[in-house]
């Protein structure tokens, strides 16, 4: 082995010697004076290569409160002045050439706060502009429309308007809650639980989507360390989004700060919640409102949005002094800040109130055979008041209509063939509500038309389980969230969504019919038993 290498070495040496000799001979032959300059290699510092894997935030329960830490600007931070040709140069052209920025200076500028703010603001605007697809050739005279077949959906009851999905933030996550903004009707917040495929990503994500622009990315991305089970826009603070998480912590995001992490959090201790918070809601008026949160161990806390370090008030929701109620959903009737209804895992609905001597649960309504997934009080304002009505959806494949004056359901809607995951009344139409189930069906029920079958129904491609349904405040759009991280917004046709003036009186009659039928059925059942 060594023999071979020494041979080859010798060969190399010889060839080198021979070539040197050749050069010398060439020189002599041409008689040129070749100045043999040896170029020493020019050495310099290379750019630093970084490898960064950020740590994952861990959930840990402590007895201390978490106050936001203000960072002080570092002493003696160098100011970067960018030199450029002075515009006030005298006409004799005192031309100072622009200072060429070094790589480090460029990087420093990219990290300053002003640049980051500017970049965030401008990129948002440009993204919107790039996503718009305006039809320049639209002919208002309608001549073009004759050639197009069946593209006009003027009569359609439910048509898909938008599909919101983000590859990075919403894929492989389940949509846990939806809420529309009161001040900006085009904004919709969707909360997501954890992504099992990416354990290093934050567990809880809330995205604010914008319906107005065709941009396919979320308007705002918020995340936190624990899966977000419920989210809501703070009704009286347009910049604030509240989230209730799996760890029991309630987090507050603010879109005025440039942070994606919460600006305020409640403590993880026994004073607040230690079980998942499935319901958060801001109730009250502009000047007197509270954030109400209920966790699955039956604890209800009311908070002030300015101070989340401790609850203003807390009650344990127990039924008959013994059983704590595992609350899965809650709803406040229109205009009421004291009385509310909650649905629980044991399939019963409980009526409760926040203040007064009888604070806590007052009544139990039995009827469902499975955990209640959604509950919603009637909110459509109009000439007649139906605020005593509420609907519930459950794992027992049914949606039931109740009245707070009656502890048995008024009616049961049995059209579904899978778990019904959510139900919501239309905010403008008194007899219309929507429900979603686990096989991709979105159903609209108009009780004035038919109580046996839905008035309109649409099945989502791929039949994913639809987790949440939310009407927009205008009552003309419905947002549906599924178990694959997709949020679909459907337009509801005018005929279906907008109530006519006689809908309220018709609904009174519908209710009367429902009550009559139920009483008859009960009588017949009683007669059969007696006979």
């Amino acid at each position: 082995h060594t023999k071979v290498s020494s041979e080859t070495m010798w060969n190399t040496e010889t060839t080198n010697a021979i070539s040197r000799k050749k050069i010398q001979l060439n020189r002599e032959r041409r008689g040129l004076l070749l100045v043999y300059t040896s170029v020493a290699p020019k050495l310099g510092m290379a750019k630093v290569t970084h490898v960064d894997f950020p740590p994952r935030e861990m959930v840990s329960y402590t007895k201390e409160t978490q106050t936001p830490v203000l960072t002080q600007p570092k002493e003696g931070e160098t100011h970067i002045t960018v030199f450029c040709t002075s515009t006030k140069a005298p006409p004799e052209l005192q031309f100072t050439p622009p200072h060429e920025l070094t790589e480090e200076e460029k990087l420093q500028i990219l990290h300053t706060e002003e640049f980051v703010n500017f970049f965030d603001h401008s990129s948002r605007i440009i993204e919107r502009a790039l996503s718009e697809r305006v039809d320049l050739f639209f002919d208002y005279s309608g001549r073009d429309l004759e050639e197009k077949e069946g593209e006009i959906q003027a009569g359609a009851k439910l048509s898909l308007n938008r599909l919101f999905m983000d590859e990075h933030w919403s894929k492989h996550r389940v949509v846990t809650c939806l809420d529309w903004s009161l001040q900006y009707p085009e904004l919709l917040v969707a909360s997501y639980n954890n992504n099992e495929e990416a354990p290093h990503e934050p567990d809880g994500v809330a995205l604010v989507w914008n319906l107005k622009y065709k941009k396919a990315t979320p308007e705002y991305v918020f995340h936190c360390q624990s899966a977000v089970m419920s989210a809501a826009f703070a009704k009286f603070h347009p910049n604030v989004v509240v989230g209730g998480t799996y760890s029991g912590q309630i987090v507050l995001w603010d879109n005025r700060s440039n942070k994606r992490t919460p600006v305020q959090r409640t403590p993880l201790s026994a004073a607040a919640h230690t079980h998942p918070v499935y319901c958060v809601n801001v109730v009250g008026t502009q000047n007197a409102h509270n954030l109400i949160s209920i966790s699955t161990d039956g604890k209800m806390c009311s908070w002030s949005l300015d101070m989340l370090s401790q609850p203003q008030d807390s009650i344990e929701l127990v039924f008959k002094q013994s059983k704590a109620v595992a609350v899965t959903s809650m709803s406040f009737p229109l205009g009421d800040v004291n009385n509310f209804v909650v649905g629980s895992e044991d399939g019963s609905v409980y009526m409760s109130c926040r203040h007064g001597s009888k604070a806590g649960i007052s009544e139990m309504f039995e009827g469902h055979h499975g955990p209640i997934t959604g509950i919603n009080c009637h909110t459509a304002g109009g000439p007649l008041d139906f605020s005593h009505l509420f609907v519930t959806s459950s794992f027992d494949w049914t949606v039931k209509l109740w009245s707070t004056k009656n502890n048995k359901p008024l009616y049961s809607f049995e059209d579904n063939s899978d778990y019904v995951y959510d139900v919501m009344w239309s905010p403008i139409h008194p007899a219309l509500f929507a429900c979603v189930d686990g096989v991709g069906h979105l159903d609209l029920w108009n009780l004035n038309n038919d109580t046996e079958v839905p008035t309109a129904s649409v099945t989502v491609d791929g039949n994913p389980a639809l987790n949440r349904v939310r009407w927009s405040h205008s009552g003309k759009e419905i947002a549906v969230g599924d178990s694959d991280g997709r949020v679909r917004v459907y337009d509801v046709g005018e005929q279906t969504a907008v109530p006519r003036s006689d809908e309220w009186t018709r609904f009174v009659r519908t209710l009367a019919e429902i009550n009559e039928n139920r009483d008859d059925a009960e009588e017949q059942a009683a007669q059969r038993l007696a006979a």
Binding site: L43, A46, T49, R56
Partner: protein
């Protein structure tokens, strides 16, 4: 000693280098989950394969290959490196790769010979 191809450009191209390194990582730990018993074998084989890959190109470079495998456990990892060399001919290439259970970072430094 091998003969170097003096005819070729003596310049290290980091962009071209990322592809073979990535293939090499995929080949060794592609579908696997972090396994403490095998991780030493993995780092050794990634380093060997990358190195032989580059040496096979037959260019006049000295190579240094560094491989880091870190289990995804919630901790943060931060490293940095810098060099003092002839930036016209020498170069380095860092490839980051991850799967559900671990991170892998491979750095290759190439220093031109004379």
């Amino acid at each position: 000693m091998e003969e170097y191809n003096h005819g070729e450009e003596v310049l290290f191209n980091p962009d071209e280098a990322t592809a073979p390194i990535k293939e090499c990582i995929e080949g060794v730990i592609g579908g696997a989950d972090y396994n403490q018993n095998k991780v030493n074998q993995w780092t050794a084989s990634i380093v060997e394969h990358c190195l032989t890959n580059f040496v096979k190109q037959g260019r006049a470079f000295k190579y240094i290959v560094n491989c880091t495998i870190m289990q995804k456990s919630g901790a943060g990892l931060h490293t940095a490196n810098s060099c003092f060399w002839d930036s016209t001919t020498d170069g380095s290439c860092t490839v980051r790769w991850e799967n559900r259970t671990m991170y892998c970072v491979v750095c290759v430094f190439a220093v031109a010979v004379a």
